[in-house]
Symmetry: C3
C-alpha cells in the first residue's frame, strides 16, 4: 500500500493511522540507508516545496528544505514573519493555500495561531504539513521522535517514557504523547503544577487504557524510565515574565542526575535546549538528542515523498 | 524576432511595445502547455536570478523564483526588509545593481520607493524587472492580468473593463490601465472620490482615444462590463487610519452582486483579498482570480527567458 | 597538497598559513577561468551549504550562495535576524553547530557577537566559515581583497597600501591587515584619532617588521600608495549618533582627489559605499571596487570546495 498517504495533509498526529505511521518510519529507514551509503535520490525532480514559516524556526524549516533538495526537488520559502502580508487572518491563509497550489507540490506551514495549518489546507489542493501551530501540534517532530525511540530502544511497545518540562504549552509533547499512545507505553508526565499536560490529552490516554502518572517530582520517573524526554520552558509562551524565570530551571539533567536514572536511559530533547541538559551530558552514550535531530532529515524526506506519491 | 526583449529591463509597462507584449503572451502560452503536459525545461541551467524584495510580498517573489527553478536556473534572494543594509538610499541601489551583475543573470526588485527599480537598473548590466515600486508600477502583474483576460474572454480588443477600489495608490491598476489601453478598451474606473485614478493616467488614455468613465457607483459599470477587476484598499498606503477604515468596505462583491452584473462577467483580483470578494463567489465560474494568480508562473517564465535571451 | 584545507574552519585569517592562502588564490583563479569560458562545475553535487546570517548582509551571503549553486550544490539559509531563536546565546550556537552537521556539508555564519563563529565551529563537525563576527574578523573578504590586489597590481609583495576610514570597528580592515602583513607591505593607516586601528594589530605588524604609518592626513599616504583601500564609517557601530555624523565624511575620494594620488593608484572598497567614493570615480580605470566584489564569487567557490575536499 505504497500510496496510502498520497494527497493527504498531516495537520495533527491524530490524523495518522498506525499503518501510516509504520509506512513513514519504514520509508524513512530506507532513505536513511541511501544517504548513509552516499547514494542520491531524484524522486522529487521538478517539484516545488513551499515552506511558509510565520514564526521563528530553523531546524524544522532547514531539515524540510534539505529533505526536498536531497530528493532533487526545489524549494521556495517565506520566513519574513513580521513583514509578510500573509500573517494576519485566516481568510488570507485560505487564499494562500489556493494560490500556492498553482506552483507548489506541497507546503509546510508554521504559524503562531492554532488552526492555521487547517485553514491553509482548506484552500490548498496540494498536501499541507503542519510544521507547528502555536501551542497546538507539530506532527513531524513527533514522527522523528518515534523513529528515534525505535532506533535507540529497538522497539516502540512496552516502554516507560517520561515527558518533562512545560507540558501545558509544549506542542512537541502534545503531538508526541498522542502518537506514542498508539504503542501502549507507561507515561510519566513531569511538570510544575502550573504547566501540566492539558486534561483532554491525559483523559484521552487514560480512556485508551494507557498508564499515566502525573507528578512534579522527576526522581521516581527517571529511575523507572527507558526514555526521558526533556523540553525547554518556552519564554514566548508566557505573558508573565516572572513566572517564566521561576519555572525555567525546575528540571535540569546533568551528569550527577544521569547516575540516578535507570541504567542505559535514553535522553531526548527537541532542541534547541536552554539549560535543561548540561553540556557534560553530551558525552553520555544514551544522550540521543543530536541523533534525534539528525533523524529529522530521513523522516521529512519520507513525509514529502509519501504525501506527493513519489516514494 | 525571438530576441526582441533580450537584454532589456521591464521597469514600466510603457516601456513595452505591443509586439513585445504579444511575444511575452505567446511565449507564456507555450510554457503553460509544456508545464500542463508535465514537460520540463532546462533553458536557464547555470543561470542565477536575484530576487531583491525590500517590501512585503509573497506571490510575486515565489512565482518568479518558481519560474526560474522550473527552467533549471538558480535563485538567490534578499527578503529581509528591515535589516538589509540595502534599503536606505538610491545610491546604494545603483551599487547593488553593479554588484549583482557580477553573478546574477537578471534581478527582480520590489521596493517602497518609486524609481527604485530604475536606480537599480542604472547600475546593473543585466536585465532588471520592477516587481512593484511603491504606488508606481508592477508590470509583470499587468502582463499576467492581460494574459488572463485573453484566456478568459478569448480576445483583448473591444472589451469593457471596470477597475474597482483604490485606484489612486494601487500600482496594479496603474500598470494594468496603461497596458490594456493598447487594446482599445472601454474603461470604468470605480472608486471613492478620494481614491480616483491619477489624472495623468486618465488624461493619457483619453488622449489615445480610449473611453473612460469615472464614477463612485459600481452598479452601472458592473451591468455593462466584460471584466470586473477588484482591488483591495491597502492599509499600508494610508497615513490616516480612520480614512482607511471608512473606505475599505466601499465595494464588496458577493453572490447577490454577481446576479446584477452582466451575464458571464469575469471577476479578477490581484490577491490577496481582504474582504472585497466574498468566499461564496469562488464557486462562480467567472471567478478568475485563482486562475489569474496561476498565470503568474508561465508569464514570469516567459519574461525571465526572453530578457536573458534564453527562450 | 590539494586537500591542505580539507575539514578545516576559516574563523580568522590568522588561522591560514601562507601556502593555504596561495592554494585558495590559485584555485579561485582556476574557477574564474572556468566561469569566464562559460563552463560549468558539478563538484558540490548533492552537498548542502548552510548560510546562517544573524546580522544584515547581502553581498557576502549572496556570493556564497551563488558560489555553492554554481558548483551544483544546494543552499539552506537563515536570515531572519530578529526572530530567529538562534540569536541569543553561545550555548545555542554550539547546539546549532551540532545540529546542522547532520545535513549540511559546511556552514557560513555572520553574527553580531565576536567569537560566535568559534562557538558554532566547536559544535559543528563540518567546516565553518566566519562571514563576519561583530567588529572581529571577515576572512573571506580579506581573501578576495588579496586576490583583487594580485590581479590589479600583478604582485602581492613590495606594495604600499593605505587603509582609510573606521579602522577601529571595521572588521574588513582588521582581517585584511593581518593577511596582507604576510606579504611584507608598507602600510598607511589613515583614520580620525577616535577610529584608529586597534593597538594589538599594529603592534603585531610592527613586531613582524612591517612598516606602519598611522595618520589622520590622507594626502601623503595617497601620494605614495599603490593601493588605496576605502571603508565606510558604519553607523551601526556607534552608540553616539553625533559622533557618527561628525566622522562619516572625514575622507572622500572624488575625481580631484584622484589627480593628487600616485599615478595609477588602485582604489578599493568592500561596498556598499555611503559617500566615501563619488560616483564620478567609477569611470577611473584604477577604480577596482566593482571588480573586487566580483572576485568574491571565485574566491568563495574555492573556499567551499577546498574546505569540503571537493576541489
Amino acid at each position: 500500500m505504497p500510496t496510502a498517504l498520497y494527497g493527504k495533509d498531516i495537520l495533527h498526529v491524530k490524523d495518522l493511522k498506525l499503518e501510516q505511521v509504520s509506512l513513514i518510519l519504514e520509508t524513512a529507514g530506507r532513505y536513511e540507508s541511501v544517504l548513509a551509503q552516499g547514494g542520491s535520490l531524484t524522486n522529487m525532480t521538478g517539484q516545488v516545496l513551499a515552506t511558509l514559516f510565520f514564526e521563528p524556526s530553523t531546524q524544522t524549516r532547514l531539515t524540510f528544505e534539505t529533505a526536498m533538495l536531497k530528493m532533487g526537488g526545489h524549494v521556495v520559502s517565506v520566513t519574513d514573519a513580521k513583514t509578510s502580508n500573509l500573517d494576519v487572518k485566516g481568510e488570507k491563509l485560505y487564499d494562500t493555500g489556493r494560490m500556492i497550489s498553482a506552483y507548489a507540490s506541497l507546503a509546510v506551514i508554521r504559524h503562531r495561531a492554532e488552526g492555521s495549518a487547517q485553514e491553509l489546507a482548506e484552500g490548498a489542493s496540494v498536501p499541507v504539513v503542519n510544521g507547528g501551530d502555536g501551542a497546538g501540534q507539530h506532527p513531524t517532530q513527533a514522527l522523528m521522535d518515534v523513529f528515534t525511540i525505535k532506533k535507540e530502544r529497538g522497539r516502540l511497545n512496552n516502554l516507560t517514557i517520561t515527558l518533562v518540562g512545560d507540558l501545558k504549552n509544549g506542542r512537541t509533547v502534545h503531538s508526541l504523547s498522542w502518537l506514542l499512545g498508539k504503542y501502549g507505553p507507561r507515561f510519566y508526565f513531569v511538570s510544575p503544577p502550573e504547566l501540566k499536560m492539558p486534561a483532554e490529552i491525559t483523559a484521552s490516554l487514560l480512556e485508551d487504557g494507557i498508564e499515566v502518572f502525573e507528578t512534579a517530582d522527576i526522581s521516581e520517573a527517571a529511575a523507572k524510565s527507558d526514555v526521558l524526554y526533556m523540553t525547554r520552558v518556552q519564554k514566548e509562551r508566557f505573558a508573565d515574565i516572572e513566572e517564566y524565570e521561576r519555572l525555567k530551571d525546575a528540571y535540569v539533567v546533568n551528569a550527577g542526575f544521569i547516575r540516578k536514572c535507570k541504567h542505559g536511559i535514553t535522553i531526548m530533547h527537541p532542541l534547541p535546549r536552554l539549560g535543561e541538559i548540561a553540556r557534560e551530558v553530551d558525552a553520555y552514550e544514551g544522550a540521543a538528542y543530536f541523533r534525534q535531530t539528525a533523524n529529522g532529515l530521513p523522516v521529512r524526506m519520507a513525509v514529502i515523498a509519501l504525501l506527493t506519491g513519489r516514494e
